[in-house]
């Protein structure tokens, strides 16, 4: 057995306590530590990362092949189907990743790890939420970039310069919105089974009822309406425009049944959605984390 000097055991004297540290230093320290934990988990269990890239990749290859012989001129601007599909799959990748944001939080609630965080003198408990947002944002962007790279290799193009920036901003806004939703559910639902059920039910229908796989002109009018209201569409169309090369924020990217949408409008809607959802889930987080 070991013997310790009393020094290691005795309580910290108040003057060396954390009082003199700035709130910002504390906040970033705790947030980074929590984010680091999530990444360590990911590194040691990379299956989520791999599956998150593999699934959209399969979509891209299979659907691309399925419609490879679609007649020229079927899609707007004589686009090939592969090129058309690319934007949809990129958005779907980011969307699915963000939808899973709540799962680690839910498991922490269920296994009591959250209690360990709550007895610590966190500067603000938002760092728990912030860490999840940081983690899932980077994860989904990494996955989307992997898909974009593969799509480029398949010959579906690459959005240069300003186009790339537009793609990233669009994805970021979508990811924020969906992450907020998922985190809210993770605190509101009773357990992981319910959360997984919601994720499962939301995922594919949202994909099909968007312009990811087919343009609105292909859809019966009710589906066209749904697609034109679907947040995924608001992310897909600016990205598609960015892939098409020449674009400006003022250019019309979608002719929706209710009117034309510019890239800027789409971004505005996504930003409003993200903000709205964060405001919506705040009371839930406050209640569960207080």
């Amino acid at each position: 057995m070991t013997s310790a000097s009393p020094l290691t055991l005795s309580a910290a004297t108040p003057d060396q306590g954390p009082a003199q540290r700035s709130a910002f230093a504390d906040l970033s320290q705790e947030t980074l530590a929590l984010t680091r934990r999530l990444f360590l988990q990911l590194a040691r269990r990379p299956s989520t990362l791999v599956a998150g890239v593999l699934q959209p990749l399969i979509w891209l290859v299979l659907f691309g092949a399925l419609f490879a012989k679609a007649p020229e001129g079927l899609l707007p601007d004589g686009m090939s189907y592969g090129r058309f599909l690319g934007a949809g799959v990129i958005v779907f990748t980011a969307f699915s990743a963000a939808l899973n944001a709540g799962l680690p939080v839910m498991f922490d609630r269920e296994f009591g790890f959250l209690n360990r965080l709550l007895v610590a003198p966190l500067r603000s408990r938002s760092s728990i939420v912030l860490a999840s947002v940081l983690y899932i944002t980077s994860l989904s962007l990494i996955q989307s970039l992997a898909i974009m790279a593969t799509a480029a290799l398949l010959g579906y193009g690459w959005p240069g310069g300003a186009g790339l920036l537009l793609v990233l901003v669009t994805l970021l806004l979508l990811v924020f919105a969906v992450t907020a939703l998922s985190l809210g559910l993770a605190f509101a639902l009773p357990g992981h089974i319910e959360l997984i059920a919601v994720i499962f039910v939301a995922n594919l229908p949202l994909l099909f009822a968007s312009t990811a796989l087919a343009p609105i002109s292909f859809m019966p009018s009710w589906l066209g309406w749904l697609a034109a209201l679907n947040p995924l569409t608001f992310a897909i169309e600016p990205i598609r425009a960015a892939y098409a090369g020449s674009f400006s924020l003022q250019a019309v990217v979608l002719e929706a049944p209710y009117g034309d949408l510019t890239a800027l409008t789409c971004l505005g809607v996504l930003a409003a959605l993200a903000l709205g959802l964060f405001l919506l889930i705040r009371p839930v987080l406050d209640r569960k984390l207080s």
Partner: protein
């Protein structure tokens, strides 16, 4: 150092705490003793700001924990009853995370972690993933995380339940050293021996309130009397032991005589002091009764418990064993 006053807490129809008050002096090693369901965990969770009481006040180091929970958390180290660890991280990574949550500086933290690895004998396995740890290793790791920020108050909820002897010895030793170096330690247990061996003071809890409080020696002394176990032969039959019982009851200084059927009709006596025992021997030989064995002991905490609650700790445990639903409780404890 810790002042809990008139705490009440109900979970639906279940009253977990009912006018619970506890004052723990600074620098003491204080034991909370009570059967399953007595309210130990509930009281400790309230103390550690994880749970809000329905009524009552909580003060730690002069601070109101309900008003200033964050400051109080800085003073507290909490080793919970159920250890929640991240199975994918190594022990060292868990400690680093914990250190960051308490805002320790990188250099200081590294030093602290090394010290605690030494202190708790975690060298061999600290860099393995927590998922591979035994119960004893988890507890030691958890104790280390509780100590990382050098809290002035350490709270442990049944820290040695189900542990191997080595881990238990390590934990006991560390708790004693902590107390000796001025940390206030509050631990709950339903092992009488543990509290008896460790605690300077204890409170006995039953039905959500404190029913006895003091230092172990005083409590035992207050109970008074010596315990004597007597056999006239190895196995007596009932009539014989009842005859002996009558003889003994007539002796001055004998408070109580009980025939213990489960132990071959041996006789359990409570007597006033050692002098009475000589008296007993004389009385027995006068009545021509042999003495097969006679042993004597001071009152134990078990007797204190029995006196305070009217039942033994074991009986109390059995009583609630069927009633509680751990799964539902865990669900409700979820945030």
């Amino acid at each position: 150092m810790i002042q809990l006053d008139q705490l009440s807490k109900s979970f639906g129809p279940v009253t977990a705490l009912d006018g619970f008050s506890l004052h723990v002096p600074a620098g003491s090693l204080y034991g909370l003793l009570g059967p399953n369901g007595a309210g130990k965990t509930t009281a400790l969770r309230i103390l550690c700001t994880l749970l809000a009481p329905d009524a009552g006040s909580v003060r730690v180091a002069g601070l109101d924990a309900l008003q200033h929970p964050r400051q109080v958390r800085e003073h507290l180290g909490y080793v919970a009853q159920e250890v929640a660890i991240d199975k994918i991280l190594t022990g060292r990574e868990m400690l680093r995370l914990q250190g960051a949550l308490y805002h320790l500086g990188a250099l200081h933290l590294r030093q602290r972690i090394d010290d605690l690895i030494q202190l708790l004998g975690m060298d061999d396995w600290i860099d393995r993933r927590c998922g591979t740890y035994s119960g004893g290793m988890r507890r030691r790791l958890d104790l280390a995380s509780g100590l990382l920020h050098q809290p002035s108050v350490l709270v442990l909820d049944e820290p040695t339940v189900g542990l191997d002897i080595e881990s238990r010895a390590v934990i006991w030793q560390v708790l004693r050293q902590l107390r000796d170096s001025g940390t206030t330690v509050l631990l709950s247990s339903h092992y009488l021996e543990e509290i008896d061996a460790l605690a300077d003071r204890l409170a006995i809890i039953d039905g959500g309130r404190v029913i006895a409080e003091g230092n172990p020696e005083d409590l035992k002394r207050a109970l008074g009397g010596d315990r004597v176990t007597l056999r006239v032969r190895e196995f007596s039959d009932a009539p014989e032991s009842e005859r002996v019982q009558q003889v003994l009851q007539a002796c001055p200084g004998v408070r109580q005589v009980v025939v213990n059927r489960a132990q071959g009709h041996s006789l359990n006596l409570v007597v006033d002091g050692e002098a009475v025992i000589e008296q007993l021997r004389r009385q027995l030989s006068e009545a021509q009764l042999p003495v097969f064995s006679l042993s004597q002991s001071r009152p134990s905490l078990d007797d204190v418990y029995l006196q305070a609650t009217g039942r033994t700790l074991r009986d109390a445990e059995l009583e609630v064993a069927g009633i509680r639903d751990p799964k539902a409780e865990r669900k409700q404890a979820m945030r």
